[in-house]
């Protein structure tokens, strides 16, 4: 049996006839073409399909599309205005920080982490590392060991508090700084100051 639903995704309203068993993630990917939301497990463990529904972080593989009837959904595609060559568009500060801090490798988990970080920073604009690690434990990454993801979220929080995130020029400052770090020394060290118990 088909159900008629309407919902707003990234500011656009859609009406669709769908099967009752259609998952929100499949509606987004297959019917709306929003393929930035990924499927890594379909059982709510990996977080690659994380989106925001009516302001709440949701794993879209655990929500039926009919449950999103009348809802407002934001996906990774809705966080920024898309760039074209030579003009990268306006990235969200979290997206920019993920680029600047090398917080991704294969990119498959990235949209989910960005959305989860988005939800985190909405609640905790100045999170501690422990808070970041606690909240982001909803998502899995097999590539990065999380170090640079946590750093990116810290960086994004700092920029958002300074109200600077959307500035494109910022990335260049950062790239320059990073370059200087590595100049002129055969050994480079980034050691977090963790204290022993």
């Amino acid at each position: 049996m088909k159900h008629s639903i309407w919902l707003t995704v990234n500011g656009e309203t859609y009406e669709r006839e769908i099967d009752a068993r259609t998952l929100l993630v499949h509606l987004l990917r297959e019917q709306l073409g929003l393929t930035g939301t990924h499927v890594g497990c379909v059982v709510g463990e990996c977080g690659a399909c994380s989106v925001i529904v009516d302001g709440a972080l949701v794993k879209s593989c655990l929500m039926l599309a009919v449950q999103a009837d009348g809802c407002e959904v934001t996906t990774i595609e809705g966080l920024s205005t898309p760039g074209i060559p030579d003009t990268p568009g306006t990235l969200h500060p979290i997206q920019q920080a993920f680029i600047d801090r090398f917080a991704l490798q294969c990119g498959f988990c990235t949209p989910g982490f960005v959305m989860a970080a988005h939800a985190l920073l909405a609640r905790h604009p100045d999170p501690t590392e422990e808070q970041i690690r606690q909240v982001l434990s909803s998502n899995l990454c097999m590539c990065t060991g999380y170090v640079q993801i946590v750093e990116a979220v810290k960086e994004a929080a700092a920029r958002m508090r300074r109200g600077q995130g959307h500035r494109q020029g910022h990335q260049d400052e950062l790239a320059t700084k990073h370059t200087k770090d590595t100049e002129g020394s055969s050994t480079k060290k980034h050691q977090d100051q963790t204290t022993l118990p």
Binding site: D19, L34, T35, G36, T37, H38, V39, G40, C41, V42, E45, A48, E77, L79, P82, G83, P88, L91, Q95, F98, I99, D100, F102, L104, Q105, C106, G107, F108, T110, V114, R133, Q134, L136, S137, N139, L140, C141, M142, C143, T144, G145, Y146, V147, Q148, I149, Q171, A175, H178, T179, D181, T182, T187, K188, K189, H190, Q191, D192, T194, L196, P197
Partner: protein, 829 residues
């Protein structure tokens, strides 16, 4: 004229990241073709059974279902794979088809495939396929599998011991005769996987011109060969778009699904997409090998290891197609960082009714490193020596580089002592020891004070431990390595390595390049762009990848695989070579147009400076559009392709009579220090510090290399702490989800600390060495070492992984009574 290094060595911003952070990566599942069908696999519910009959009429009749392919049809329409490159040593040719024929040998083995108008409809249809199985007893452990009465997986072999052999270097017997002491250990490492977040994915289309498959394969060569072998089609094109992680998982078993999906596309005449789900990947996507080692070390009284013998039993699961990969990969780090000259490695590959084994972040090398590092700790303990001093005594000294190992590997450069020095300093080794001593004394005081009233004053239950280990990360695959264990093979699998790259200046002056291999997220586009930018003299922003891997367009060869740490050797060499050729063309053309001496020209930011200036765009317009201005004999266009082979691949590219061979070509190294806290009540291990000092040779992009180290270390730590596959006694997999499997999240993963200590390789293009899976090799050993150190008051030995809370609790409670008293743990009676 000279090339600068403005970009090599800098953390130049990622080329790939902008598309991924905006959700514009393109993975196979993001692609759709007109009239595309969706496929699902029917999989075996049994670990071991005969397939008596398959009736698909119910499924085929379901509206929306377009075709079902049963085992009979797989056998009729396709041919078996040739024994693969990973099955060296297979003594009887065993035909293996893409799907199960006649028998299933592991839970999840593909039996039939359905294609329908939607994925959901295809899943519905699976339930209507009626398969009659005749269940057979399953063998789940190697001990059961080798028993004389055990059910046999392959009747052709007559036994479940599918391969047995050895390699031996030096005079092992003489070394043992000279020894002051023989130190023995039985060690085990369990089944795990790298669980890439994107499971297997194939999209196949058969057109009159060719069979095209979009597939997230790490080794498109494997898919290319598989389709040709199985379907008899030469006109094959393999396209690898963005790949959501590989780590070895996507090298081998994925070929089965590529063939089945392609077969369905041929049968239906429509494009067919198949996307594996998570539980399918867990049960049938491939596991690393469970390995058991009986080790004997011949040592002197002062801790020098004179010789080592290892008997290695590999549980290779329910297929012969990757029979010896976990054995032969041990040739890559057989001597780790040590100068010992005498070693014998005996191996046997045992079939069991479990998932077949596949390459996986190090393949066998984490096991080999585990053997060495556990042995070093054991030697120290039995001789009453400091474990770090024992390692130091056995390390190859830096004066001996380039160092040739007894089995023929050439370690180009390194400074192992310095790695240990740095990691001890960074982790604050002496301070950790001091705190550990204080803690142990405090526990002892509490214990004596509470005598007679144990309930009132239970001693602290957290014990601190530190483990320091060292390991190597080999890089650059030699295709002939496996002949070392199978010299009688009549078909050479290839030798050394070959791979190309193309670099082109477009007529508008922008630079595009095509690599000869796929990427799975290791920033190959970024790294290649940096090299091209420096060699050509152009800003990296002007350089971009033309696309991802495509057999029809990429200059590929046997090394075109996202495995074996091939990128740093072959892709870097090829990109550098192609860019250098193109630079030469640019200078020749510019010198002619500017009427200048070539040697007087210099290039900066895409502009050639001489008596006048010319931009790449101006040169491009001439090269592609103005024959009148071209130098005589100049090949028009500004494009260059270069195929790279490692110039230092010999000696020993092919194995000699002693089985010596260059297993891989470069050898990064690293020292790891893990500090753990063990909760003696629950057995839970918390990693409180994890420090690495790594020599990856010349760093091209330090932040990219950092990411590779963080990620591979995190995986090895997670493996050591408990992630892994668990089967029940019937061969049913109990860990079908990532949570059951126990993958570490941000909470369990420590904040890994990295220091680079690069010693450039004298034989590679830029002095670079491998940087990929490296930290997954020593990290399981580091955690084992640290946990054993923490549990020293119990007198227990850590012999096997994983160190899950349950296992650690068992160790504590099986430990000696002094230790048990110390923790207040009840203990066994």
């Amino acid at each position: 004229m000279e090339q600068g290094t403005r970009y090599i060595g800098r953390s130049v911003r990622s080329k790939e990241a902008p598309r991924h952070v905006t959700g514009r990566g393109r993975y196979v599942d993001d692609l759709a073709l007109p009239r595309m069908l969706h496929a699902c696999m029917l999989r075996s519910p049994y670990a071991h059974a005969r397939i008596v009959a398959v009736d698909a009429t119910g499924a085929a009749g379901l509206p929306g279902v377009k075709a079902v392919i049963t085992p009979d049809e797989v056998k009729r329409l396709s041919r078996p794979f040739k024994p693969g490159r990973y099955a060296a040593g297979l003594r009887v040719p065993i035909p293996e088809y893409a799907g199960a024929i006649g028998k299933v040998r592991y839970v999840g083995e593909p039996v039939a495939i359905v294609a329908a108008e939607s994925r959901a409809r295809a899943e519905d249809a699976l339930e209507l396929i009626d398969v009659q199985y005749d269940a057979l007893p399953a063998v789940v452990t190697t001990a059961d599998a080798v028993a004389p009465s055990a059910p046999v997986l392959y009747e052709e072999l007559g036994s479940n011991v599918a391969w047995q052999g050895h390699v031996s270097y030096g005079d092992v017997d003489a070394a043992f005769a000279r020894a002051d002491r023989i130190v023995r250990a039985n060690l085990k490492i369990h089944r795990y996987s790298s669980t890439p977040l994107e499971p297997f994915a194939c999209l196949a289309e058969a057109t009159p011109e060719r069979l095209t498959i979009w597939c997230n394969s790490q080794s498109p060569d494997v898919i290319y060969e598989a389709l040709s072998e199985a379907l008899g089609i030469d006109a094959v094109r393999v396209i690898v778009p963005d790949v959501g992680g590989g780590f070895g998982q996507k090298i081998h078993l994925i070929r089965k699904y590529a063939v089945l999906t392609a077969l369905m596309a041929v049968k239906t005449g429509r494009p067919v997409k198949w996307i594996e789900d998570r539980s399918e990947h867990m049960m049938a996507g491939g596991h690393s090998c469970e390995q058991e080692f009986d080790v004997e070390a011949a040592v002197t009284a002062d801790g020098e290891v004179l010789g080592l013998t290892i008997r290695d039993t590999d549980d290779v699961g329910g297929s012969v197609s990757t029979l010896t990969i976990h054995f032969t990969n041990k040739l890559n780090n057989l001597f780790n960082t040590y100068k010992v000259q005498h070693l014998r490695l005996e191996g046997r590959s045992v079939l069991t009714n479990k998932c077949p084994v596949v390459p996986n972040r190090g393949i066998g090398k984490p096991g080999m490193c585990f053997v060495w590092e556990r042995t070093m700790d054991r030697v120290a303990r039995e001789l009453g020596l400091d474990p770090i001093e024992v390692r130091r005594r056995n390390l190859v000294p830096k004066e001996q580089f380039p160092y040739t190992t007894p089995n023929g590997n050439i370690h180009g450069s390194g400074d192992y002592q310095a790695l240990l020095d740095r990691v001890l300093a960074n982790v604050g080794y002496d301070e950790v020891r001091r705190r550990q001593q204080e803690q142990r004394e405090a526990v002892a005081r509490t214990l004596s004070g509470s005598r007679g009233a144990p309930d009132r004053a239970r001693p602290t239950t957290t014990l601190l431990g530190i483990g320091v280990v060292i390991g190597i990360e080999p890089g650059g695959r030699n295709a002939a390595r496996d002949m070392a264990i199978f010299p009688q093979s009549t078909q050479m699998p290839g030798a050394g390595g070959v791979e190309g790259a193309t670099v082109k200046i477009e007529k508008n002056g922008s630079v595009v390049f095509t690599l000869g291999s796929p990427s799975c997220g290791q920033s190959h586009e970024t790294t290649a762009a940096q090299i091209i930018a420096d060699v050509l003299g152009v800003a990296p922003e002007r350089v971009s990848a033309a696309g991802t891997f495509d057999t029809a367009l990429s200059p590929w060869g046997i090394s075109s695989s996202n495995s074996g740490n091939n990128f740093h050797l072959y892709d870097v060499g090829a990109v550098h070579g192609a860019a250098a050729r193109l630079r030469d063309k640019v200078l020749t053309l510019a010198a002619h147009v500017l009427k200048a001496d070539r040697e007087s020209l210099r290039i900066e930011d895409g502009v050639v400076y001489g008596p006048a200036e010319m931009t790449f765009a101006e040169l491009g317009k001439i090269a592609y559009g103005n024959q009148a201005l071209l130098p005589p004999g100049f090949e028009p266009g500004l494009q260059a392709t270069y195929y790279y082979s490692h110039p230092h691949a010999d000696p020993l590219m092919l194995p000699d009579m002693q089985g010596r061979v260059r297993a891989q070509y470069t050898f990064s190294s690293a020292a790891h220090a893990a500090v753990v806290e063990v909760d003696t009540e629950t057995g839970r291990v918390r990693v409180v510090r994890y420090a690495i000092v790594s020599d990856n040779g010349t760093l091209i992009n330090p932040s990219v290399v950092d990411g590779q180290i963080y990620g591979s270390a995190a995986h090895g730590i997670s493996v050591a702490l408990g992630e892994g596959f668990v089967y029940d006694a019937d061969g049913q997999l109990l860990t079908l989800t990532l949570l059951d499997y126990g993958k570490s999240t941000t909470l369990e993963t420590p904040r890994i600390e990295v220091e680079h200590y690069p010693v450039p390789d004298p034989f590679t293009t830029l002095g670079q060495k491998a940087a990929g899976e490296g930290a997954a090799i020593p990290s399981p050993a580091a955690i084992a070492s640290a946990v054993e150190d923490a549990l020293a008051p119990f007198g227990v030995e850590v012999r096997r992984l994983p160190l899950s809370p349950e296992r650690v609790w068992e160790l504590i409670n099986g430990g000696d009574s002094v230790g048990r008293a110390l923790s207040g743990a009840p203990g066994r009676t």
